[in-house]
Each structure stands twice: as structure tokens, then as C-alpha cells.
Symmetry: C2
DNA sequence: CGATTTTTTGAATCATATCAACGTACGTGG
DNA sequence: CCACGTACGTTGATATGATTCAAAAAATCG
């Protein structure tokens, strides 16, 4: 299980992990299993853990004042699940995080996380992830502002084919900021050509 | 000029800056003046500098395939201007960054930036900024997806009154993802009540 | 198999974009 | 200091993309 994480880290670093690093990482990361539909985080709670997904599919969402669910992020194997703001600042989260399939995570608490930040490859990865995340968010803002629902869905299918396969359509709709009804119609029109 | 930056850093750190740190920072940051409408970065270029704004107002935008400008971020004094992805990865940027007022910046190149990352208060600040940025982006995604144009403008006015004062209306419209026409109408309706 | 979740569909409605035109303000060079 | 050009804001009419709602069909699960 930890092997998957070592392999993941390897992609972000020039040199292989030392055995010492591996020990530190193994100590810090505990396995956690979630069943489909089980929550990892509830709105109002403090997000105590940062989770790396080794198996399954997770979804982070919030509920707006009209009661509509808004998907903030989706993740499968080799992605992270966490409300980082709540995790870092110990503030109550506005997000829910739930398993959309039976899932297996490697989790660390804040203390363990700080410990791992001393492991250089880990810190490098976190840094790289920050930039990637930021750029992806900017991309999402731009597309939600300037593209039609159809274009956004099209882009999504091409960028994240895996997620299309793993998550139900109404969840993808809520990620893209369109209704399930509209997404259904988009697919219908798509087939007609 | 550097004093402003020291004061800014101070807000992110528990202890005051040491004199040594101040020297390092002063060495790394060079002043740069821009006139209104002058560009700090052009799309296609590599973003060579990370800039801290000590005076003036800057705007980062991209131009979509229809030729429409899309404002990615706005900044005044005590904000940053940079395409961080391009800056860090040395890739060509898709963004323009321009001065919307006569402006004064403190800029560092990538090398100087890495040097400064060894100054703890600076590194702490960068880290804190990353989380804040991420949270703000999530907020922006959520609001562009789930709120009406009027609600978004209203939120914006309350969150960033300073920016409303400093930037022309059509730029704010493009930040919010609405047309200048619609924003004008929103304000008209607003006055009628 | 029944129960629940997920997807599809049509009709009416709504928010916002588009386009073209006009008004206003601004600042730069003569 | 005026005049002209450019930038900025407003407006109305029309078009369009997407939502809403209610209902039914289809798929999935225990």
C-alpha cells in the first residue's frame, strides 16, 4: 500500500527515496478504508487528516444556501483528498468529502504532515502540487466563465477520461457547474451527430 | 520602498525580521517602475520575474479564441503580480500582465526567489499565500458556478471595495465573467431601489 | 424482486449575451 | 487652452443557452 505512495513520490523527485525516508513515511501514513457513500469529512468539522487515495474514488463538495451540491474536486487513485485550508489552519470546514466507491486511503494528521515536510522529496512534491493546483484552478475559472456547458463537458472528457468513467453523471455535472438535465441533453445532442 | 515589503512580511511571521534577513531581501528585490498601460508580461513570453506591488494597480488577463479578454487576477499595493507557473517552470505564459495605473514594483528573478526561500519568514509567507490563494480560487469557482451576476458583483464589492475603486468597470466585469453591458445594467437596477 | 439511485425528456421560463448606437469623460498634442 | 481621438459607460431590442419542474424510464443494489 505504501509502495504506491513511494512510486507516486518518485515522479516528483530527481533521486530515489532513501530507506530512511521510506521508514519515516511509513510511520506517518496510516491506512484507512471507507465504504462507498461513507464520509471522510463533514461540513462544520475540522479536517484532521490529509489523505492519499490508493484505491477508490473520492469527492469533495459543498452545499449552497439553496441546498444544491457543488462539487469542488474529484479524485481517484494517486490523488489527494483534504480540505487543506481547514487542515492547515484548524478551522471548521465548509466541505463534505465522501467515498463514491469503496476506497482505501493513506492518512496523516497535521503533526505527521509537518514531520514529513522535513523529508525533502515530500516537501518538493507538495510544492509542485501547489503550483499545479493553482494553474488547474485558474483553468477551471476561465472555462466556467468563457465556455458553454457543452465545451466544458467536452474539455472535461478529454482531460479526465478516467473520472468520466468512475463518477456518475450528475456528480460530473455538479463539478462542471451545470444541471444533470443539461448534461443529459448535451450527450443526446452529441450522439445525434 | 523595501520597508513596505518588510511590513508586509511581518504580518505572516511571529518574530520580527533579523537585520541579516533584511539585507538578503534588499539584495534580492529590485525596484521597477511601470507606466499606466505598460506591460509587465506578454503572452508567449516566459515570466522572468515575481513582482511585489508597492504602488499602483496591476491586472493579469488572457485572451480567449474569440479575442475576449478574461481577467485572471487584479492587484494593488501589497499584492503580487506573476504567472507563477511560467515563473517556476520556465514555460511560455498564456497571460498578459499590465499596469492599470502608474505602478512601482519590487521584482526578483527565479534565482533570487530561490535564494529568498531560504529566509524563513519569506518561505512561511509563500506557503501561507498558497493556501489563501487556493481557498480564494475555490471560492471564485463556486461563485461563478452557483451565483447570479448580480450576486457575484455584490460579493465582489463587499470583499474588495478597494479594487472597485481602482479598476474600470469593464475590467471588473471581465474578472467576474460578465459583460460590461450586464454590469452596467446591474448597477442601474441597484440604484433604482 | 422491490427500493433506491441515476438518467432522460418536454415545456415554460429566466438570466445573460450580443450587437449596434450613443453619450460622456479624459488626456495629449497642437 | 482648445480640439480631437481614444477609452469608458449606458441603453434597447433581440437572441440564446441553460435552468426549472414534474414525470417517467432505466439502471443498480441489497
Amino acid at each position: 500500500m505504501h509502495e504506491l505512495f513511494f512510486a507516486y513520490l518518485r515522479k516528483y523527485t530527481s533521486a530515489p527515496l532513501s530507506d530512511g525516508d521510506k521508514v519515516l513515511i511509513t510511520k506517518a501514513l496510516s491506512p484507512l478504508k471507507l465504504r462507498k457513500r461513507q464520509h471522510f469529512l463533514l461540513a462544520g468539522e475540522h479536517c484532521k487528516y490529509l489523505a492519499f487515495i490508493t484505491k477508490g474514488a473520492m469527492r469533495q463538495y459543498r452545499v449552497d444556501d439553496k441546498g444544491i451540491e457543488l462539487t469542488a474536486s474529484l479524485g481517484v487513485e494517486n490523488w489527494w483528498a483534504c480540505d487543506r485550508e481547514s487542515f492547515v489552519l484548524s478551522t471548521p470546514s465548509i466541505y463534505y468529502i465522501e467515498a463514491c466507491e469503496d476506497s482505501e486511503l493513506l492518512v496523516m494528521n497535521r503533526e505527521e504532515n509537518l514531520e514529513l515536510m522535513k523529508v525533502k522529496p515530500f516537501a518538493e512534491m507538495v510544492n509542485a502540487l501547489n503550483y499545479k493546483n493553482n494553474a488547474a484552478n485558474q483553468q477551471r475559472i476561465a472555462s466556467s466563465i468563457s465556455l458553454t456547458a457543452e465545451q466544458r463537458y467536452n474539455d472535461f472528457v478529454h482531460s479526465y477520461p478516467e473520472l468520466v468513467r468512475r463518477f456518475p453523471q450528475h456528480i460530473i455535472a455538479s463539478y462542471l457547474g451545470i444541471t444533470k438535465d443539461t448534461l443529459s441533453r448535451i450527450k443526446r445532442n452529441w450522439l445525434q451527430r
